[in-house]
Amino acid sequence: EDKVVQSPLSLVVHEGDTVTLNCSYEVTNFRSLLWYKQEKKAPTFLFMLTSSGIEKKSGRLSSILDKKELFSILNITATQTGDSAVYLCAGSNSNSGYALNFGKGTSLLVTP
C-alpha cells in the first residue's frame, strides 16, 4: 500500500529562522513528488520533483528529491509569519492518472 510520511507533524519557529520539512514515500509506479501549501482551504502548488538531486527553488523556498532513499525535503529560509501554513507532500502514481497520495502534512507556525 502506498504511504507518504511527513515529519515533523508540527513546528513552531521565530521569524527569520530556517526550517526543513521532511517527506518519505513508498509509492508504487512512482512518477513525481509534489509539495503544496495549505493555509485555509485550497492547497496551493509549490513544487513538483521528478528527478533525484535537482533542486527546485522559488524565492526563499527550495526542495530536492532523493529517489534512492525515497525522500524529499522542503527548505524555507528567513521565515516570515506569512509562511505559517500546513505543508503537504504527495507522491503521484502513474497507474491512476497521477492521482496524489498525500501525507498528513506539517503544520508550521512562524511567530513574530
Binding site: F45, M48, S92, G97, A99, G105
Partner: protein, 115 residues
C-alpha cells in the same frame, strides 16, 4: 485566468439526505480529481476522470458515492444516504495530462457537514 471553482462552499445536511457537490475545472484541463480531507489529515484520493470517463474510482469509500463528468468539463460528486462520517472538506483538482505528470490545481473545497 480562472482557477478551479467549487460550489457550494459549505453544505449542511441531515443524515440520510442526498447531496451534490459541483466542480468546475480550469479550462482545457482534461484530468479532474476528487479528494476528501478530514480534520488533521492530508487529502485522500476518491476518483479520477480523464475526459468524460471515470478512469479510476478506487478511492470511493462505498457505493453511496458516485461522480459524473458528462461533457468532460464540470463534474458532480453525488453522495446518497449521507452519514455523519461523510463530514469532511471535499476538494476538486484539475490538471493537464497528455505527456504528464503535471501539477494539480485545487479548488477551495466544499465543507460538508452531516448532522
Amino acid at each position: 485566468g480562472a482557477g478551479v471553482s467549487q460550489t457550494p462552499s459549505n453544505k449542511v445536511t441531515e443524515k440520510g439526505k442526498y447531496v451534490e457537490l459541483r466542480c468546475d475545472p480550469i479550462s482545457g484541463h482534461t484530468a479532474l480529481y476528487w479528494y476528501r480531507q478530514s480534520l488533521g489529515q492530508g487529502p485522500e484520493f476518491l476518483i479520477y476522470f480523464q475526459g468524460t470517463g471515470a478512469a479510476d474510482d478506487s478511492g470511493l469509500p462505498n457505493d453511496r458515492f458516485f461522480a459524473v463528468r458528462p461533457e468532460g468539463s464540470v463534474s458532480t460528486l453525488k453522495i446518497q444516504r449521507t452519514e455523519r462520517g461523510d463530514s469532511a472538506v471535499y476538494l476538486c483538482a484539475s490538471s493537464l495530462t497528455t505527456g504528464g505528470p503535471y501539477e494539480q490545481y485545487f479548488g477551495p473545497g466544499t465543507r460538508l457537514t452531516v448532522t
